[in-house]
Symmetry: D2
Subunit: 207 residues, 4 copies
């Protein structure tokens, strides 16, 4: 059986909800082609996110990992090209209060890893089904970048054959309505369609 691991994050900072937490809950256990989706929420804790993810890799042996996270201010789904070896809290402490500045994700690791998902093809698939999307060249320096880099580093240093990458989402429409701001946002079902579209592409292009 082919498994795809989908991760999201718990709420953090001033945000009471996180659409990526709902996404993994909604898609956990669903099928796409011959693959089964395992959806899991990760903690917004620099030191705990990778250990949690490693546990899911061992338990489920997925052929690909698609991690997702909320980036306030983004207006479209952004497929990240690269994760860098930096932990910087940039004004938003993690959920244990950690505030790293210019720390490495891994002391021995290289400066950066490219995602091994086909980022351009994924963006084209998304746009083809009417989901706004773009390639992004920075995942920031927070938890999202952290898991993108750390997952790739783990896969690389353990000689695993798993494709992995990261997608940032905007706020959901409901979040912005509740906050009463005019931040960019995306309808939750459209995000879900987007994630399903990417998972299907990953399932069908799996060697």
């Amino acid at each position: 059986m082919t498994t795809l691991l989908l991760t999201g994050y718990e709420p953090f900072g001033e945000y009471e909800t996180n659409p990526t937490s709902r996404l993994v809950e909604a898609l956990d256990g669903t099928k796409t082609g011959e693959a089964t989706v395992v959806g899991r929420e990760l903690p917004v804790v620099f030191d705990d996110a990778l250990p949690a993810l490693r546990g899911y890799l061992e338990e489920h042996e997925p052929v690909a990992v698609l991690s997702t996270g909320l980036m306030p201010g983004r207006a479209v789904l952004t497929v990240e090209r690269v994760g860098i070896n930096v932990r910087d809290y940039d004004g938003v402490p993690d959920n244990t209060g950690a505030e790293p500045v210019d720390q490495p994700v891994d002391l021995e690791g290289p400066d950066a890893y490219f995602a091994t998902l086909p980022v351009r093809e994924l963006v084209e698939e998304l746009q083809a089904v009417g989901v706004p999307a773009r390639i992004s060249n920075t995942a920031g320096t927070h938890l999202c970048n952290n898991i993108l880099y750390a997952t790739r580093h783990h896969i690389e240093t353990n000689g695993l054959s798993i494709r992995s990458g990261f997608v940032h989402t905007p706020f959901s429409h409901e979040q912005v309505a509740r906050r009463g701001t005019d931040d960019p946002s995306m309808q939750f079902e459209t995000m879900r369609t987007g994630i399903e579209t990417m998972l299907r592409y990953l399932a069908t292009t799996h060697e």
Copy 2:
């Protein structure tokens, strides 16, 4: 029978579609409470929009007019507070090529008119149903401002008892996906929910 007039605009400038054209088509003929919605598309032509709208007022005798238009760059539904006595093409000619600069909408009219729709209540209604929304203090100086001002001026100078106002929409998700940009956008069904919510509020608060 109580009638609500809903207007949208045809496509303009570099944009091949206009979500407000689809909105009026989708809602034309629907019922909200005891009111019937008349949905009509207006031309993006400075000199033709008001005459078209005047015709619909005479034909359908609505108790309220809700006009809508696309504002590229807006991220939420923005309920406009005021229309000003200015026509300025601001770099985007109308669909006949007209390029007015600092012209008045009406030579005799006052500097501006407030919308007579309850703008704050409408924003609160929208947010309550999960539709991102805000009050806006500028409808620009293009067709949208033009119809907001001209409708109010027509109502005022003819002693009519019709509430009127204007709502700007973002791009739809599909538009941004097709354009391949990272502009803010809103799902079309969410816009539709928003417009229906406002029409229902106008129907129920009609004296």
Copy 3:
């Protein structure tokens, strides 16, 4: 003797300084052509700003009033086209803690007044001397809009022959450097050049 009144605002909200306070101090008493500049700081208090300005009008009998204020987020000098009859604190209380919502500036006043300064010519003058500038169609609903509207209303209802208008400035470079943000900003001397350019234009076009 011909006098031009230049007003700025004291600091407000979270901002420790206000470049428009420095501007009026720097330009008070200077000459431009045959005119003398009277530079005065106004309080960021909805109920006190107009009375203060009225006092300066009576004392100095200027032929024109150029009011200025800081608008965080603006990237260029924006010459305001219109002031509207609204006081809304929009999340930032004034310096006495007042938080008006959808209140009028003047109970009897019209919905809005256009500035009587030549806004397009001023923008062209600014751009010609290398100062970034644009026409703006909204001065917001805070103190800046308040003084723009109230000054025009006072002039109009008292039959005075004084041109008046408003210009918003970005943050100064120093402010953004001190705040450590990446907000747009303008060098203080460039703002000063801009204000002097506008005052000179007003002095030379005075009938």
Copy 4:
């Protein structure tokens, strides 16, 4: 004699001027502490920029390289943290018309290199002298990223002991005034002060 190499770029795309071209011309031959600045303009040509820079390294044997480039839309000086192994024209062809998509800068190179300039210290130095500045985590995928990555790769693969990095500038005030837009910008003299401040810091912290 200690030499610091400062590079800028020629104009590109729709932009008739490039403030970084003026910066290198203005600072070429100046002294900072005991170091001499060599200022050189690079071509906006993917295949020619590194060869040109390599020539300057051989000729002048600098202890550090500070490269600069214009990034339309940036509002402050942004000190880049990382260059990635990607050439993507992203809609703006280089000055020979080249339009690479997802190409590597170097076929054999690693995914990315961190700048070896002290990015956080440089930002703090800039802010301390009133120059708006921030760390950036993406230099894009155009010429600027290209030279940041390629310079580091050249230094690394040749065992040289030269610190290198990249700083993006906003438009100059004059550029935005001439273009008539409301893009963020920075006064040219402030940029110059910023570059001088960074060069001085590099000169004094040189081992």
